[in-house]
């Protein structure tokens, strides 16, 4: 048996003899998660294991039970890929395969779904069938990055399984130092707030970067996320190195008759408490006794709040596009970093506009390649090297929207004429 991580408590041997005619071994601790009102993944796994009698499912449940008992994890990484790719499969070997030989391998395909996670039943059933044939039959929908995760396959089945998936129109997502699978909110498909066609841009951009998704050539991972308005339902600001967030440049559209309708239903107090006084910049005014509101659009910061409250009466303006924010990432090493405003407004309607965006991205990636360190996210590189250096290198114009305040220290050196 391999050396266990950390704990001294190595647990007793599994007793898989008498089992009341069940295929799976007893997992008394896990079974405590079968009940309760929220859908149980354990119940799902067990029912499925009993039906299909897949040894891998049994082994993985056994190892998971053991983890619950010892409070330690027992997977280790490795490198399994398909032909021509350097990424897309998360490799998992059991560290205690002598104990749980059926769990020896448990690799995962990261598969890129359609933008917005839309499916028809035909395509999804097809995935299920391929997956039940070659893999464990366990599926995560979806991983936090947005992949359809097919969890549990043995190394020698990966290529044939991938080939079948690929023939059905599916491709792998990123892992390691690649462009990663992107995520988008539902956007114009069903949302009245959408300010740009994030699904189209997502598809176009990620197809362009398919090669960079499959082969790790960056300093570190790079994620795109596309939210079609500032509500940011895709969490782009925190979870994406490159976030496109929809916005508008002109005035909020108001239909006063629906303001009245809302006021008639909820009252004038509610209009004050929930709309007027909740605007972060006090850009909304309402005269007592009237049934209209007025918006000072110069002072509106496009936060969406008023529109969210009365969507029937208020809508984003007509001149729509997206803001580019960069540098979002989670906790590792520098602490959570939210994306920073880089370009307040870009039009992304035409193919040319999207291509321009891609060109800018190419430029930025080149800069990052040259200036980044190993395992450094692009936002970290920008922070370490300096915003000014970054902007000048990639040709983004400095603008006051990039910051919440100008500097409070005089510690910079502007370009000076040393001849004087």
């Amino acid at each position: 048996m391999e050396d266990l991580k950390g704990t001294g408590n190595s647990g007793e041997e599994q007793e898989s003899e008498d089992n009341n005619g069940k295929y799976l071994n007893p997992t008394p601790i896990l079974d405590e998660l079968v009940d309760g009102k929220w859908p149980s993944f354990i119940k799902g796994f067990k029912d499925f294991g009993e039906r299909t009698e897949k040894p891998m499912v049994r082994g993985v449940l056994d190892q998971l039970e053991y983890s619950y008992k010892t409070k330690m994890g027992y997977w280790k990484g490795g490198l399994v890929t398909v032909k021509g790719y350097g990424a897309g499969i998360i490799t998992r070997f059991s560290m205690i395969k002598d104990k749980f030989p059926e769990a020896k391998e448990f690799h995962t395909f990261r598969v890129q779904p359609a933008p917005g996670l839309h499916y028809n039943t035909k395509m999804l059933r097809e995935v299920c069938d391929i997956w039940e044939k070659h893999g464990s039959g366990l599926i995560t929908m979806h991983g936090q990055t947005g992949n359809l995760q097919l969890q549990g396959i043995e190394q020698d089945k990966t290529q044939e399984c991938f080939d079948e998936l690929n023939q059905a129109g599916w491709d792998l997502g990123g892992a390691g130092a690649t462009v990663r699978t992107a995520a988008s909110c539902v956007g114009p498909a069903r949302c009245e707030q959408a300010c740009f066609d994030n699904l189209k841009v997502h598809e176009k951009v990620l197809k362009y970067y398919a090669g960079m998704t499959h082969r790790p050539e960056f300093n570190y991972k790079l994620k795109f996320k596309f939210s079609a308005c500032p509500n940011d339902c895709a969490n782009a600001i925190m979870r994406a190195d490159v976030a496109l967030i929809g916005t508008w440049r002109d005035s909020i559209q108001i239909e006063q008759e629906y303001v009245k309708e809302w006021m008639d239903e909820y009252g004038e107090d509610a209009l004050f408490d929930q709309v007027v006084n909740m605007c972060p910049t006090k850009a909304i005014s309402h005269k007592i006794g009237t049934s209209t509101i007025e918006i000072d659009n110069k002072n509106c910061v496009r936060c969406m709040h008023c529109i969210n409250v009365i969507p029937k009466a208020l809508s984003p303006g007509k001149e729509r596009g997206a803001s580019l924010l960069m540098g979002g990432k989670n906790t590792l090493k520098v602490g959570v970093n939210l994306g920073s405003m880089m370009i307040p407004f870009m039009k992304l309607d035409t193919d040319e506009e999207v291509e321009e965006f891609i060109e800018l991205m190419d430029e930025i990636f080149d800069w990052w390649d040259e200036n980044g360190l190993d395992h450094e996210r692009v936002g970290e590189t920008i922070e370490r090297v300096g915003m000014k250096q970054f902007l000048e290198a990639v040709g983004i114009e400095a603008n006051i929207d990039m910051i919440v305040r100008p500097r409070d220290n005089p510690y910079y050196k502007k370009h000076y004429d040393s001849a004087v």
């Binding site: 796994f45 890929t81 028809n120 995935v127 690929n166 339902c233 925190m238």
Partner: protein, 360 residues
């Protein structure tokens, strides 16, 4: 890497699946031309197009860690009620869309039948964003799916009713890296003890300079153990971040007792009203107690109870706290402020109260 003997298919690097064919016809017709939406009841809303079309959405929670059997059941319902289409949300709910109001209740009925609760729209607790845990990851100290299940069991009613001031997003992560993302309430493993080095493994398994480079505070130094080049950790400096463990599995940071939970509040990604905000540490040293994690559940419960009672309509967690102040947040949530909650990292200074503003 191995491949089957005769491979005739040449890989198409197609990237994301195409959207074409994946959208409901009413969606296609009204694409980009929606006018407004209305909540009908928990888990059900309707969107109206400028065309006059109505599109009903029924949303149900899922276990996220699914099986093909469950997906097939969902497909059955999609065929029956939603013309063969469905989508999943950012928080792993499944959504069925259709134009016939009459289908709403039968669908809800059938969903609940197969164990998928309908709810999660608008001012309620949405499903927890969680991570791989012991089921799959190579560095976890807990099983995020298990913790999430335990919490959602407890908050089931809050998923199905509309009694919160605004949306409540939760997340759970099995190490400090926090793949689950920040949230109104985030439940995240927090290591408390510097890594112990397995010198035998290290010399064979890890690239030494890589682990040294990974440490954000330069706490790892080369050394010689048993005549072999190895590493040591300066425990004074180490901030227990776990970055080295990701680079090198011999830097053992996981431990059944020393890897505990911390609870964070006020993370917000939307731009509505207040700016997006990173979350704040409000409870720590919570034991990692599978399979029910009662101590975690207790703290989460207290926080949500206080928010539910005190928040005003549309106020997110961070906005409620901002209004009442941190002191009262701790009081109302019955939590204890501790010295380690004072920031000590790179931008600590910017979190100090550099004013005489104080509440008594």
């Amino acid at each position: 890497m191995n491949a089957p003997s005769e491979r005739t298919w040449k890989t198409v690097e197609s990237g994301p699946h195409t959207l074409e064919g994946a959208l409901h016809p009413v969606v296609v017709k009204n694409y980009g031309k929606w006018k407004y939406h209305k909540l009908i009841k928990p888990g059900v809303m309707v969107h109206y197009g400028h065309s006059g079309d109505a599109l009903y959405t029924v949303r149900a929670g899922t276990p996220r860690q699914n099986t093909v059997d469950l997906i097939r059941q969902i497909c059955d319902l999609a065929d029956q009620y939603a013309d063969g289409f469905m989508r999943f949300t950012i928080r792993n709910s499944v959504e069925f869309m259709f134009s016939e109001e009459s289908r709403i209740d039968p669908l809800i009925n059938d969903l609940e039948e197969i164990g998928l609760p309908v709810g999660g729209i608008a001012n309620c607790v949405a499903p927890i964003a969680h991570t791989q845990g012991w089921l799959h990851c190579d560095i976890p100290a807990t099983d995020a799916s298990g913790v999430a299940k335990g919490i959602m069991d407890n908050l089931y009613a809050e998923f199905k009713t509309l009694e919160m001031p605004n949306k409540v997003r939760l997340s759970t992560s099995c190490c400090s890296i926090n793949c689950g993302g920040q949230a109104d309430v985030a439940i995240i493993v927090k290591h408390t003890r510097p890594p112990r080095i397995d010198h035998a493994k290290l010399s064979t398994l890890c690239e030494l300079p890589k682990a040294v480079a990974r440490c954000p505070v330069a706490a790892i130094r080369p050394t010689i153990v048993n005549n072999k080049r190895s590493l040591m950790v300066d425990e004074e400096k180490c901030i227990v971040c776990g970055a080295c463990f990701g680079a090198c599995p011999s830097m053992e940071i996981n431990h059944p007792e020393h890897s505990q939970f911390a609870i964070w509040v006020g993370g917000k990604n939307s731009n509505a009203r207040s700016k997006p905000q990173s979350m704040s540490l409000v409870a720590e040293g919570i034991p990692n107690n599978p399979p029910h994690w009662p101590e975690v559940n207790d703290v989460v419960g207290r926080i949500l109870k206080a928010y539910k009672a005190g928040g005003k309509p549309w106020e997110r967690m961070n906005e409620w706290i901002d209004r009442i102040g941190w002191k009262r947040f701790f009081e109302e949530s019955e939590l204890t402020f501790e010295i380690d909650m004072i920031d000590s990292y790179r931008h600590a200074r910017t979190t100090f109260n550099q004013s005489a503003h104080v509440r008594f």
